[in-house]
Symmetry: C2
Subunit: 491 residues, 2 copies
């Protein structure tokens, strides 16, 4: 069996996401943002397969041969990346189809998003060729990120090669790359990200069906602006939501938003209320922006999917506790009053006076030791009405402590120990723990506090503890997981 025969027996999606050889159209000896951009990104991320460059003018680019024609390429090609001017896209795509290329991402813009007849016509040509047997992502997109195979988004040289459970489908290229970055430091790992732009061929419905069946994707997330077939989309959402959580950020819900959608990705928005209720009925989890999307994916990545109702919240100070109660109520959670004996045992290990242990648990000062917190968390978990615990840590106080001792933050912080303790308590009690690390000191002189917070985030993530910047974000993310679990169990 020749290489080419093997290729033909592979599933087209498999060949697209895990290509052995790719071609890039549009890299030239002259500087070209998209063509060179994607090549440099693939080289930087370390795509291990064959990369072949094509430009009718030929020549060399960074020591690589530029072939004049696809027929000159000495290998069977699975996947094409097209970054030529809009007017040349159709003929390029047709060449690929004739050579048996499984799919192509078209990074070029200048299609239906222009709102011109010419743009519409060019996009219809792309569609017609796709219908004859080559799958197309785009045009007007940033392409595919697949950490396992080493494919990356056009502006994605520095994305992680670690795979994970989150799949992301994005109509917007900017959102795809922003979410890849945000997700990475927040602790999310991706199976695949697909930026589909105008979606001339592959778009929301088929990609949802693909992710539903994709074993590496445990959590599906989407950014959609407008959908071509709303009924079909909602049905695909419902099919997927029965199998795994589907988190949707729907843009373009306002009047002006619809207008912006039209010029951004050439599709239709829609009424806020209709969308909200339709998404809820389909079992999808609706989020308001990229930050909530990421926080929600993080929660689904690290928390068991089950109903959470009672939350114990512990941290230094009283005002956070009041706001914890207010926010919990907003998100359908509750801070149960801890049983008297449990409160008493918690108070035994906290500083007096000033502490309070009814729930929220006010530890009164920011330097309570990890061992004391271990006792607090173990005790609070004893209350049968506590389903999950939230711990708040204010690292900037450790800077003040370090200054007092004439030392540096790294010498006085206790979070590595606290992270270990949190992981232990979760294992011991079966009740998850979530950390909140707010940063109130973001002045130019306080970069060391930011550095400590980022390090602490990594350390807690290593122990499987999700970290949020604010209490309301943490509670909202927990409530999403809980509501999905309730919906799934009911339906």
């Amino acid at each position: 069996m020749t290489c080419s025969d093997v290729q033909l027996t592979r599933d087209p999606f498999e060949r697209i996401f895990h290509p052995e050889n790719i071609v890039i159209f549009g890299v030239s000896t002259k500087w070209n943002m998209f063509g060179s951009g994607i090549l440099n990104s693939l080289l930087a991320i370390g795509y291990p397969g064959g990369i072949y460059l094509i430009n009718p003018k030929g020549g060399q680019y960074q020591g690589m041969t530029i072939y004049r024609d696809l027929n000159e390429v000495p290998a069977a090609v699975d996947f094409a990346i097209i970054a030529v001017p809009a007017g040349a896209v159709a003929q390029t795509l047709e060449q690929c189809r004739l050579k048996g290329v499984a799919g192509a991402e078209v990074l070029s813009s200048g299609f239906s998003e222009m709102g011109t007849e010419e743009g519409e016509a060019l996009e219809r040509e792309v569609q017609e060729i796709a219908a004859r047997g080559i799958r197309v992502i785009g045009p007007n997109c940033f392409g595919i990120y697949c950490p396992e195979s080493g494919l990356t988004l056009m502006p994605g040289p520095d994305l992680s090669r670690e795979s994970g459970p989150v799949g992301f489908i994005s109509q917007s290229g900017g959102m795809s790359v922003d979410f890849a970055h945000i997700g990475t430091w927040m602790g999310i790992r991706f199976s695949k990200i697909i930026s589909f732009g105008n979606g001339a061929d592959l778009r929301e419905i088929e990609l949802l069906d693909y992710f539903r069946q994709d074993e590496q994707t445990r959590i599906i997330s989407l950014y959609v602006e407008g959908v071509k077939d709303a009924r079909g989309f909602l049905a695909a959402l419902a099919r997927a939501a029965r199998v795994k959580p589907v988190i949707v950020n729907k843009g373009g819900l306002s009047e002006a938003g619809k207008r912006a959608v039209a010029s951004h990705t050439a599709s239709l928005g829609g009424s806020r209320i209709i969308w909200e209720s339709a998404l809820r009925q389909a079992g999808a989890i609706q989020v308001g922006d990229i930050w909530e999307l990421a926080q929600c994916c993080l929660a689904f990545s690290l928390l068991p999917v089950r109903p959470y109702h009672g939350v114990a919240v512990a941290g230094p100070g009283g005002a956070f506790g009041v706001s914890a109660c207010d926010e919990a109520e907003r998100f359908g959670l509750e801070l149960p009053r801890l049983e008297r004996e449990i409160s008493d045992r918690i108070l035994d290990v906290l500083p007096r006076p000033g502490s309070s242990a009814i729930n929220p648990i006010d530890a009164a000062n920011p330097f309570v030791t990890p061992q004391a917190y271990k006792e607090v968390l173990l005790q609070a978990a004893q209350d049968p009405r506590v389903d999950i615990q939230v711990l708040i840590s204010l690292l900037h106080h450790f800077k003040a402590l370090a200054i007092g001792f004439g030392s540096e933050m790294k010498d006085v912080v206790t979070y590595p120990e606290l992270a270990r303790v949190a992981g232990e308590v979760r294992e011991q009690t079966g009740k998850p723990i979530v950390l909140v690390l707010p940063n109130y000191k973001q002045g130019e002189e306080s970069l060391d506090i930011e550095a400590a917070i980022r390090d602490a985030r990594s350390v807690f993530l290593e122990h499987g503890v999700p970290v949020f910047s604010d209490l309301d974000e943490a509670l909202r993310a927990v409530s999403h997981v809980s509501r999905y679990a309730l919906w799934r169990d009911r339906s």
Copy 2:
């Protein structure tokens, strides 16, 4: 006229906020968090008046004499700071009253917030003494921050000495110090912050009336959990709101929140819906948390108080534009479609294809020059339906650019010029400009991006341009200013 005679002729509030001499009760040769904490904070911030320490045991603390009794202090005292155990507070306060001290802040806890009869009784004693002629802040509080006179909160050694227009009244000590920190790097400057804790004597109503009349306070902000006299409080709010904006963060609106309020500052919460409508009727601006409180104060500090309806939004990328429209609608703002000739002139200075100038203005790439943005902003301001402009800058792209050029971020960023331009356009057009600086790259390897963002924030603030981290925060803050202006003009 002797010094003491002068003191007696000064207004008690004036003596409290601008004391010539203060005494601290509760500093001892042994370590004591509150007593030493407040002393060190006052020394660090550079309070210029006389500081006298008192402890019956006498001795020395850091080279300063500890007097055994107030009568030994060789000066007339305006203000006392009391950090002795709860049981000794009343007699200390009585001594102060007898010596003609105008007011005292009681940092000690162990009063009504304990929920015990003993605590209640101790607090009543404090109240009775106050009623006989000494004003009391606290107990269970962090005291007063007055940058002009050099008074600072108990944990406030590093607060700014710059005064500004924002007054803050906080029932919670934690909130008072957190808000002081957040406000400072965000660009807010304070006239005074008063943390009143249990509010045995001075509390929300009288402090509101004080701030209403205080010429240095142009914007009043409050964090209240529960109020003792709701009707009186709402009347005081309404009195103040007619004169200057009053921004209220009301904690304890949920069932559990009320319970937390009781153990935190010994007062009563209340129903969410009742409070929301009552605050609206009083003309107060209600905010949901400390971040919104700060963003709102920033907007009132730097934007002219007038109605804003039409917003022009410019930045790189299309997805932000869609969300801009959606968020604007949520907050009662609008992105008017720019007049055709204006759009055309804007498109002339932006990269093609990819840009769009209907509003939102999608500049397509992050490296559009400040001079091009100047033209964009000048043109957009020509549209009579544009009342205010929002500019979005994505600094992390400049890191990629710097890497490409083999240089550092500081050599390629253009924000100092962009800030100058924004200030110029605002002056020229009379329409304010707001900057949004999101940070999508918060990984441990990206501290340089955070540093650039913080520096950029300072630079824009120097040009009078408020900076927000997210578009929805910016639009929400603008809408608060606009709604207040509309309310004030109507009433």
